[in-house]
């Protein structure tokens, strides 16, 4: 026996967000005349408590069995109203949302047109909801293990927090040591703490924590499964050094005959082909860089210097990449940032003039364990008397990156302080705007001003040479004058940009990216650590430029997100998955290779395709391809969608 369809329609004003453009009472009045509609109301804020109560009461008193709310995007409040229905005893999937805010009032100028569009959207939702069927969510267990990808400060913090809660965590880092960019910095703003001094204890804790398995020189290759039940394949790159045998004595590095520019020292010093990136590395054991090692390249096996000097026999030239798998319930991606290459803009002279360097190079120059043991000198050994620091190199620039890299203003202030402290030089900051946004930052700016650092409001447009001396040209926008400042050393504070391999990493973990290339969070304000893939969280600069305190906070926050999944022990799985009508399936197997998740298999006995609902993510690719109409995605059936389209287009 078919039940009588009884629909309630609720039109939300969203304060003035919708009501400014859409005549909400008119839309409600219109809706009340649509087929099956028993009641239609408009209200200030449907998502508020009284708004929700309104729906609840109507469901009970008017025996509604379908609900339509015309308000914002389903990404915003679909879960809210689904819960309202459920609390009144109605299955949450007998509900439909018409988006008359993002899709209508916010993007339509003319109120009359906006109202007409809202009516069409409501009409379509009402027609669609008639075809809805009750669906039931399932629960899946959550594996309590957690994976952290990236061993910079954000990843380190996340791993430590997870481990402290007692959960097992694997920390995967692609380079031979953890520490990331923070390990390369000299001091940190605004406290002028020694960066290494506050970072290395955390790095050591990671190595010592028995809940943490540290995989350096390793990269994630594949992620299978779904929230709560991921299966991750990790490639442990051949290190050519047996970590169990190696004592980290360093003799191999002393004797290795091959020199390569050091990544850690930003090219200012050389490292060997067998190397630990820096003295406080964790693990403090080397790796052989096979791209440059003579054994693997020129001499084709003849050079065995490191093998010969190693007293414990830790060198293993035959080591091969190893694939390991790890099962975990949640993943935290903290893969950090890359730095803009200023030689892309020849106007700044980087690569043309020796004494034009980047901020990270200056960090190494000024660092006591850096290539000059902390002496700030020009290429020819002179101590610079005048130094220019150029802000926004590659940032806030239509030609390169339109966004603000956020940390460079403060980093420039810090570098100005260090430069003056070490050399007594006159320091000139060329800035567009000074953004001292954090706690204690404005105070730090004032301190630097008092120290006598010069500030020129105008971007350093170009660096040239006159009479053998570097000259920075720019417009001083406060004076309204064009200025040329002769200096000995130019520091380019370059933009933070997405890692060069961000595209690949995003694909592996199913993370979306924003227009600037950084990883995209679920919601810019309220879900900054979640991603479009349930169970995959992001932290630190892979999401966008941020300073150390923010990266640490996000690392800890992502750990909390992952732990709340793990602690709950079970996770709701959406019932919106594909289903196959075996009576209609012709057994053509078209859908099998199309499924990106391997969720469809073929039943040889019955000669029909079958869906594994645990693996299916409801993307709909199979349904679109099915020639016999046997495949449907629940809640997005042909009938539901075609009806909706028909009604939107009906006049």
């Amino acid at each position: 026996m078919l039940e009588e369809i009884r629909i309630g329609v609720y039109v939300c004003h969203c304060g003035s967000n919708i009501a400014d453009k859409v005549d909400c009472p008119a839309v409600a009045a219109y809706a009340s005349q649509l087929p099956h509609v028993v009641v239609a109301r408009d209200y200030q804020y449907m998502c508020s408590d009284p708004g929700q109560e309104l729906i609840r009461q109507d469901i009970k008193e008017l025996k509604l069995n379908r609900v339509v709310v015309a308000s914002c995007s389903p990404r915003m409040h679909e879960p809210t109203f689904r819960k309202v229905c459920e609390s009144a005893g109605l299955n949450g999937y007998l509900y439909e949302m018409a988006n008359i805010r993002e899709h209508c009032s916010w993007v339509t100028e003319d109120p009359q047109q906006a109202t007409e569009k809202a009516k069409a959207l409501v009409r379509a939702a009402v027609a669609r909801v008639v075809h809805h069927e009750p669906l039931f969510e399932r629960w899946a267990p959550v594996n309590p293990n957690i994976l952290v990808v990236g061993g910079g400060i954000a990843g380190i913090e996340a791993a430590l927090k997870v481990a402290a809660a007692g959960n097992k965590v694997w920390l995967v880092e692609k380079s031979p040591s953890i520490g990331g960019n923070m390990a390369r910095l000299d001091k940190t703003f605004p406290t002028l703490d020694c960066s290494a001094c506050i970072l290395t204890p955390k790095m050591v804790s990671v190595a010592q924590d028995e809940n943490i398995t540290l995989l350096t020189y390793a990269e994630v290759e594949q992620v299978e499964g779904y929230v709560g039940n991921f299966r991750v394949t990790i490639r442990k790159k051949a290190r050519s050094v047996d970590l169990n045998k190696c004592t980290g004595c360093g003799r191999c590095q002393e004797k290795c005959p091959v020199e390569v520019p050091s990544e850690f020292e930003a090219g200012l010093a050389m490292r060997k082909a067998i190397y630990t990136p820096f003295p406080q590395a964790v693990p403090n054991k080397p790796a052989i860089d096979r791209e440059h090692c003579r054994h693997f390249t020129r001499t084709k096996g003849k050079c065995r210097v490191c093998f010969n000097v190693c007293q414990v026999g830790a060198i293993d030239y035959d080591q091969e990449d190893e694939l390991v798998t790890y099962e975990c319930g949640a993943i935290i991606v903290a893969t950090g940032y890359g730095l803009f290459d200023p030689s892309v803009g020849p106007q700044w002279g980087y690569g043309r003039y020796d004494d034009v360097i980047t901020a990270i190079q200056f960090e190494r120059l000024v660092n006591a364990s850096g290539p000059t043991k902390g002496k700030v000198v020009c290429k020819d050994g002179r101590v610079p008397e005048r130094i220019a620091i150029l802000h926004c190199i590659g940032s806030r620039d239509e030609n390169y990156h339109p966004y603000c890299s956020r940390i460079c203003c403060m980093a420039s202030l810090k570098l100005a302080h260090l430069a003056r402290e070490k050399t007594g030089a006159e320091v000139y900051n060329f800035y567009i705007d000074l953004r001292a946004f954090g706690k204690g930052y404005e105070e730090f700016y004032n301190r630097i001003l008092e120290e006598g650092v010069n500030f020129i409001r105008g971007k350093g447009a170009e660096v040239t040479q006159k009479d053998g001396r570097l000259v920075v040209r720019g417009e001083d926008t406060l004076l309204g004058r064009y200025r040329e400042v002769p200096v000995d050393l130019v520091i380019l504070n370059t933009a933070l940009e997405p890692q060069p391999d961000a595209t690949k990493v995003a694909q592996i973990f199913g993370i979306q990216r924003s227009a600037d290339g950084f990883f995209l969070e679920s919601h810019p304000k309220l879900e900054p650590l979640k991603t479009a893939t349930d169970g995959v969280f992001i932290a630190g600069c892979c999401q966008g430029p941020k300073d150390i305190p923010d990266s640490v906070a996000q690392g800890a926050g992502a750990a909390a997100e992952a732990l709340s999944l793990a602690t709950a022990g079970k996770v709701k799985i959406s019932p919106v998955v594909a289903s196959i009508d075996p009576d209609l399936c012709s057994g053509c197997r078209m859908c099998l290779p199309l499924c990106p998740y391997g969720a469809i298999s073929f039943n040889e006995e019955k000669k029909v395709a079958e869906v594994n609902e645990t693996l299916c993510k409801g993307c709909g690719t199979c349904a679109a391809s099915c020639g016999s109409g046997a495949l449907n995605v629940r809640h997005f059936t042909r009938n539901q969608i075609l009806t909706q389209i028909e009604e939107v287009l009906a006049v």
Binding site: G345, P346, Q347, N399, E462, K466
Partner: protein
């Protein structure tokens, strides 16, 4: 190598020396430049500021003529023509509203343009099509001059696939290939003031003063240019600049075609050298 050739108004008037040296050098290098029939002004300066549409239509008409004749590429010698003709293509591809208006205007004079014509600067042709090696192989008299290569502001702007907007280098390579010593020159892509010389002379004089001044500081004997407007400003106003800034510049300003032509063994007369205001005898004495 055959190309459609758009000389632009200047090459038929104030920069006949550019035209003559272009033709002479092209002949030696086997580059055939077929002048477009019935071409018109590219619509620069005065027109753009009064009516961007008219200016775009003027450019598009030239390209429509080239297209009707089956040309895929049009060569220009003037930086401003280079920018204006390219802009017509940008409108065509990126601005449907503007494109519609341009198409309608062209239809009014019985023309139609599909927007496929590529616009290229002669410098691009020499460096990338003829090739530096070929040119170096034809050098009869290596230049042995210190030259400041001045590209002007429009060769790389708006951004294009040919030259860098901030630090172009193709002419550096070309002049080096014919034996010149190219001085490091930071003002190479700065603005000369262009048509401001007629409306805000103070501004343009100052810009030219800096361009010539730096060339002199760097020890250049000649400034090489790629644009008739730059040539006129830097050469024709040197007396005024000297009077205004108390300098004593006597810096010859020659087209890159004239300099390359000298290296290829052409005579001064064939290259129309000596038509400028600043005497060249002091440096060019073949």
């Amino acid at each position: 190598m055959r190309y459609a050739y758009f000389p632009g108004c200047s090459n038929h008037a104030s920069s006949k020396d550019y035209e003559q040296s272009t033709q002479a050098v092209a002949r030696v290098l086997g580059v055939e430049l077929a002048e477009l029939p019935d071409w018109n002004c590219c619509g620069t300066t005065g027109v753009t500021s009064v009516s961007p549409l008219l200016s775009a239509v003027l450019s598009a008409r030239n390209l429509a003529i080239a297209e009707a004749q089956g040309w895929e590429e049009v060569v220009v010698t003037c930086n401003s023509c280079f920018g204006m003709l390219r802009r017509a293509g940008d409108y065509h591809r990126q601005d449907p509203a503007m494109r519609e208006k341009i198409d309608a205007a062209l239809a009014g004079v019985g023309k139609k343009w599909q927007g496929q014509t590529r616009v290229r600067h002669l410098l691009d042709i020499l460096v990338n099509d003829v090739g530096l090696e070929t040119i170096a192989g034809k050098v009869k008299r290596p230049l042995r001059l210190k030259i400041a290569p001045y590209y002007g502001c429009l060769l790389g702007r708006p951004r294009n696939e040919f030259e860098d907007s901030e630090y172009p280098e193709s002419m550096d390579q070309l002049l080096s290939a014919v034996g010149a010593e190219v001085v490091p020159y930071d003002h190479k892509a700065k603005c000369c003031g262009g048509a401001l010389m007629t409306t805000k002379e103070e501004v343009a004089l100052r810009l030219c003063y800096e361009i010539i001044g730096e060339a002199q500081d760097r020890g250049a004997q000649v400034i090489a240019v790629t644009c008739p407007m730059c040539q006129l400003n830097l050469d024709g106003y040197q007396n005024k600049i000297n009077a205004r800034f108390g300098t004593n510049f006597k810096m010859p300003v020659l087209y890159f075609t004239q300099l390359v032509g000298l290296a290829l063994g052409l005579r001064e007369r064939q290259l129309a050298i000596g038509k400028g205001f600043v005497p060249v005898k002091q440096v060019i004495n073949f």
